[in-house]
Every structure is written in structure tokens, then in C-alpha cells.
């Protein structure tokens, strides 16, 4: 699963890489839904999965989850986790509405300020995790509550910001050069994060930190600073997602993005990033996001699911089950190698901490 190393260049290693497998699964999944989910409906129009309209909708809906997954990938690579991403999305959405409507700022300034707020949220996580050496799990569990609570308190639980100018709404609902606008933003951010994680010294250190923080420290890597940037960057990307979410729905409400963290984490894990840290790839995350988006939307286009009135439950169930399968699958290679090691005179394998 190590995508950063190039041990044996050549066709075989390319084929056997996890991402390639995932890509194949993705294509198969897409074809499956294309076949079963595209029909001529009762009104004589070709509808369903295969229409461009539908594909664009899939793209739009998955940009926000995709951004959350992009934000999470570097964090998870460092063997951390950030449960507060969806709550921070809600808080940033509210703040954006507040900046524009209550403080009267023009949209570009409101956007800039919101991005700054996202960084601040990430910085809070970063400070607690790096300075006080607190476990990321509990810190982000706390900020998960805190951010959502702040969003509710700021809006007095009630205010919804709507009525954004249509030039802004185009960001979430319009098209540019044939693709939804937010898809371009998403691709831009994805490219940036990919560059960071795979091509910069800074980003490569994430893997070292995830594999062994102590070892990384001895190797001279400023662990605290690197971790901090990972969380602050996550906050920044989440803020961007919040703005796109608001543009797509045309409203900013305190409960924005509720429940998205499950899909984001599933996408990252599905994409091959190890939940234990130390390895991961942005390409894998993108494929994971695509796989989940296709699954979710594809299921919903199957006539039988629509008739069962179970689109909502099915997508939740499938994602939960998928996460379990992905997790179990991710440790199978480890288990297999442990079994193999048992048959040979053992070189001690480190016991993995259940946490």
C-alpha cells in the first residue's frame, strides 16, 4: 500500500497496486449502475444513472465530502484523526452567512474571512494536540461538540442565512467549461494537496510521523510543527467546503454537514490510507470518494430501491458496512504476513496497539 516508494517499476507492480484495484472496482461499479440504473422512464425520457445530468449531480454532491476527505487524508496519514470536520463545516457556513449578511461584507471578503476562521478552528485542534500532546481522538471529539455548539449559539439556534446573490450561488449550482463550478475548485485543491503530500519534503514527513513519531523526531523532523500544519490545513479545506455547500444549497444553517464525517472517513480508508497512519495516498482518497459517491447515487437510481422507499437507509447501511469491510480488508495483508512469519523462525513483529 505504499504509494510513495518506487521499489519495482514496471507493469506488474502498477497492476498490483491497491489503487489500481480500486480503480477497476470503481469502473465495474459504474458500469453496473449504468446498466441497471439507466432506463427510459414512463414519460419517454432517458433518465437515470447514465445521463450527464445525473453524473453532474454526483459530481456536485461529492465535492464537499471529497474536500472533507482531502482534509482528513494528511491527518490520518500522521496516525491522527479529526472528527470535528463536519462540525467545523457547519460553523464556517454560519460565519460566512454572518459576515455577508450581518456585517454587510462583500462576498469575496466574507470568503476570505471564513477561510481564516477555518484555519483558526484547525489551529485550535493543532494547539491542543501538539502543545499539550493530547490524543487527537479526544480533542476532536471535544471540538466536534464545541464547533457545533458554537454554531448553534451564534445563530441562537434559529437563524438561517438565505438570499445570497446569484453570482455567488453559481459557485455551487452553475457550470464552467462543461463541468460544475465546484468541481474545478475541488480539482484545484486536490492537486494542491497531492503535491503537498507526495512531492514536498514537508508532506512526505507526514508518513514518517505516522509510522513512528519518535523515529521521526530522532531523524530531525519537527514533528509538532508538521502535525500543526496538517490540522490547520484541514481546517482551511473544511472552510472551502463550507462555502461550496452554502452555494449549492443556497442556505447557511447551523446543522450544515451533519453526519458527513462518516462518509469522509470511509472514503479515506477505502482509498487505501491506513487508519493506523504511516501510509496513504491522495489518489486513493479521490478514488474512494468516487466509489462512495457512485455507490450512494447509483443505489438511489435503481428503480427497485426507489420503490422500496429505502434510498436513505440503504446508503447509510451500505456506507457503514463498506467501512467495516474496508477496515477488515485493510488488515488482511498484515494478518497474512503474520501467519507467514509464524511458520518461519520469527523476526519479532511489533504488537499493534489496539488504540
Amino acid at each position: 500500500m505504499n504509494s510513495g516508494e518506487s521499489r519495482r517499476p514496471g507493469w506488474k507492480s502498477l497492476l498490483l497496486r491497491y489503487e489500481t484495484l480500486l480503480f477497476v472496482v470503481l469502473v465495474a461499479e459504474w458500469l453496473l449502475f449504468y446498466h441497471f440504473g439507466t432506463t427510459t422512464n414512463r414519460r419517454g425520457i432517458v433518465v437515470g444513472f447514465g445521463t450527464m445530468d445525473r453524473q453532474f449531480d454526483i459530481l456536485r454532491h461529492s465535492c464537499e465530502i471529497g474536500l472533507l476527505a482531502l482534509a482528513l487524508t494528511p491527518v490520518i496519514i500522521t496516525a491522527g484523526i479529526d472528527l470535528s470536520v463536519a462540525s467545523l463545516l457547519g460553523l464556517c457556513a454560519i460565519l460566512f452567512g454572518k459576515f455577508h449578511f450581518d456585517a454587510g461584507m462583500p462576498i469575496p471578503i466574507a470568503i476570505a474571512l471564513t477561510l481564516a476562521c477555518g484555519c483558526t478552528g484547525g489551529a485550535l485542534n493543532a494547539a491542543l494536540i501538539t502543545t499539550l500532546r493530547l490524543p487527537p481522538l479526544i480533542v476532536t471529539l471535544g471540538t466536534y461538540s464545541l464547533f457545533r455548539g458554537l454554531a448553534e449559539a451564534i445563530t441562537h439556534g434559529a437563524v438561517t442565512y438565505t438570499g445570497f446573490p446569484s453570482s455567488f450561488l453559481a459557485l455551487g449550482q452553475g457550470r464552467l467549461l462543461g463541468l460544475p463550478v465546484q468541481a474545478w475548485v475541488f480539482l484545484g485543491i486536490a492537486a494542491g494537496v497531492w503535491l503537498l503530500v507526495h512531492r514536498t519534503v514537508h508532506g512526505r514527513s507526514y508518513r514518517a510521523i505516522g509510522f513512528s513519531p519518535e523515529g521521526a523526531r530522532f531523524a530531525g523532523i519537527p514533528v509538532g510543527r508538521r502535525l500543526a500544519t496538517a490540522y490547520v490545513l484541514a481546517g482551511l479545506i473544511v472552510a472551502a467546503a463550507a462555502i461550496i455547500y452554502t452555494a449549492r444549497l443556497g442556505q447557511a444553517k447551523a446543522d450544515a454537514g451533519m453526519g458527513y464525517e462518516l462518509f469522509a472517513i470511509t472514503a479515506v480508508v477505502l482509498g487505501g490510507t491506513s487508519i493506523f497512519g504511516g501510509t496513504g495516498s491522495i489518489a486513493g482518497t479521490l478514488l474512494g470518494v468516487a466509489a462512495i459517491a457512485v455507490l450512494k447515487n447509483g443505489l438511489a437510481t435503481l428503480p427497485v430501491v426507489i420503490r422500496m422507499n429505502a434510498a436513505e437507509e440503504m446508503s447509510g447501511l451500505m456506507t457503514g458496512a463498506l467501512l467495516l469491510v474496508a477496515l477488515t480488508g485493510s488488515i488482511v495483508p498484515g494478518l497474512l504476513s503474520k501467519l507467514r512469519a509464524r511458520r518461519q523462525p520469527a523476526s519479532p513483529t511489533p504488537v499493534q496497539d489496539p488504540a
Binding site: I81, L83, L128, L132, R133, L134, P135, L137, I138, V139, L141, G142, T143, Y144, S145, L146, F147, R148, G149, L150, E152, A153, H156, G157, L262, I265, V269, I275, F276, A310, E312, E313, G316, L317, T319, G320, A321, L323, L324, L327, T328, I331, L335, V351, Q352, D353, P354, A355
Partner: protein, 309 residues
């Protein structure tokens, strides 16, 4: 004293809050509403005991809310279809235990991270319940409320039973060997293994116990009113983890006790009625609770740094 500094400080915070209420809102201290408040929190206490054990072993279980809902609905349906209460209670516990077995098998058996496993089971259970029940209430037959004992006796029974569970587990953690094992696994699983403890078995059992306690708590909850709402466990996981963490159980495992969890639970549970009595607007509640949690966590972190240096 130093050993229990954390727990004592939570107790002090609780006393301060209660004191503030005594001064600014003495109406808080009427016996009947207080008893009602206490009884309502008892099921959460039972679940918090289980959660404390899970967290001490360095795991986490965020599926307790969904497990609670499932057990409540199942127990309600069994009672409504005529099962006597003496049979419904063990059935509820058993159902919870089975869900705990599933979590435990994945975490202890396969070594998967508990946060992600329980995140997945939480969503899967909740959606399955929605699929089946569609949110409809379960109406309980007449003899079920308060175990048929009437309100006063029923309330004290529930409070007594919960405190008994707390005491039994608390003392067991301290004095029984298996209680010591839980701390050992949480502090350093490898060292525990070398010392002869079986960390995977201990972890597994802790998850099973968590499930069983959730089933018991669900039972304690449904006898408090004549209907069961399937959503009833919503938000329970956060409530319980917050209580446990505020009460001094370190999320990094190996330290903490149930008395602290009790104090933490009471502290957080009093925030809502305190806001009502002090006439503060309701929308501050979540933010205040989040702040208390972060404060507790930061205090833990500061103390850990001091210990290390």
C-alpha cells in the same frame, strides 16, 4: 490526595455548581423534581460505567447510543407482546451483549481501531432500526411502568439498582484481579501480555460488558414511561464519553475510576436544569458542555506534561 486530584476537582466543581444554584435558584432543591432528575440520569450512569471501562482499556465505543435504542425497542416489543418483565430484562441484556460481542470481535480479534469500528456499527444499527420501525413509538402495557411498583418505589428501585452496579463495578475494579487487568491492558498492552494477562480477551470482554450494561440501562429507561421512542438513544454516546472524560478517565487509557465518572455525569447533567433555573437561554447548553469537556481534557494534558518533566 494527589492520586485522586482529578476526581476530587470534578467533585469540587460539582459542589460549586450546586452551591451557585442554592444561592441563585434555591427552587432547584425540591425533593420530588430532584428525584426525578436523578432517576432519569441513572440509565446513563450505568452506560457510563461500561464506557469508563472501555476507555480505560484505551478503546472507545461510540455505538452505545444506537445499541441503547435497539435494546429499548426490542425490550418494548417483547413486553408489549406479553413477555413477563422477569424475562424481558435478561433478554434486553442479552441483546446488548450480542452487539458487544460483534464490536469486541472486530476490535480485539482483528485488531481494528475501535473508533472506526464503532462508528460503522453505530450507523448500521441506527439505519436498520429506522428501516424497521420508521420512528413509530412502542406502546407498553400497563404493568411495565416502574416495574409495576408505583412511582416512588420504582424510582428508588432504579436509583438503587444503578448505584449497586456502580459500587459493584467500582469495587471490582479496585480489588478483583480482573479489574487490575483492565488497568494493565490500558496502560501498556504489551507489558500486560508479557505479565501473563491476555489483553485481547480482556478487551473483548470489556466490549461485551459494555453491551450488556447498555441492555440493562435500556431496561431501566423504558420502565420510566409508558411509551418507547426509537430515537431514545440519540446523543447518548457523546453524553457518556463526556461524562467519563470530565470525570478523570484518561482517553489514553490506564487511569481513572467510576466514581469520577459519576461525578462527571452529574456535573454535565446539571447544566441543562441549571440553565433553566438560572434563566439562561437554551442555546448555550452545547457550547457550555463542550467547553467543560475541553477544559477537563486540557487539565489532563497539562498534568501529564508536568508528570513527564
Amino acid at each position: 490526595m494527589k492520586l485522586y486530584f482529578r476526581e476530587v476537582s470534578v467533585a469540587v466543581a460539582l459542589v460549586v455548581l450546586l452551591g451557585a444554584l442554592a444561592i441563585f435558584a434555591p427552587a432547584f432543591y425540591q425533593p420530588q423534581p430532584l428525584l426525578s432528575l436523578l432517576t432519569r440520569e441513572m440509565p446513563t450512569l450505568v452506560v457510563a460505567c461500561g464506557a469508563a471501562l472501555v476507555i480505560i482499556t484505551r478503546q472507545i465505543d461510540i455505538s452505545v447510543g444506537s445499541m441503547f435504542s435497539v435494546c429499548s425497542v426490542c425490550a418494548g416489543l417483547l413486553a408489549a407482546s406479553g413477555w413477563p418483565l422477569v424475562a424481558v430484562l435478561p433478554a434486553s441484556v442479552a441483546i446488548g451483549a450480542v452487539m458487544g460481542v460483534f464490536n469486541g470481535a472486530l476490535v480485539a480479534g482483528l485488531g481494528l481501531p475501535s473508533i472506526v469500528v464503532t462508528l460503522a456499527t453505530m450507523v448500521t444499527l441506527r439505519q436498520s432500526l429506522n428501516l424497521m420501525r420508521q420512528g413509530e413509538f412502542v406502546n407498553l402495557p400497563d404493568g411495565v411502568q416502574w416495574f409495576g411498583l408505583g412511582q416512588f418505589a420504582g424510582q428508588w428501585t432504579i436509583v438503587g439498582a444503578a448505584l449497586l452496579v456502580l459500587a459493584a463495578l467500582g469495587l471490582g475494579m479496585r480489588h478483583l484481579a480482573v479489574g487490575r487487568f483492565v488497568y494493565a491492558v490500558g496502560s501498556n498492552a504489551e507489558a500486560a501480555r508479557l505479565a501473563g494477562v491476555r489483553p485481547r480477551l480482556v478487551t473483548f470482554l470489556v466490549f461485551v460488558l459494555m453491551g450488556a450494561l447498555t441492555g440493562l440501562a435500556a431496561m431501566m429507561n423504558i420502565v420510566q414511561s409508558p411509551q418507547v421512542q426509537p430515537l431514545s438513544g440519540a446523543g447518548l454516546e457523546l453524553k457518556v464519553i463526556a461524562a467519563v472524560v470530565v470525570g478523570g478517565v484518561a482517553i489514553s487509557g490506564g487511569r481513572g475510576n467510576l466514581w469520577g465518572a459519576f461525578a462527571g455525569l452529574l456535573l454535565l447533567a446539571c447544566v441543562s436544569p441549571a440553565l433553566t433555573h438560572l434563566r439562561i437561554e437554551a442555546y448555550w447548553e452545547k457550547a457550555i458542555q463542550g467547553a467543560i469537556i475541553l477544559l477537563a481534557v486540557v487539565a489532563d494534558g497539562v498534568r501529564m506534561r508536568k508528570e513527564k518533566s
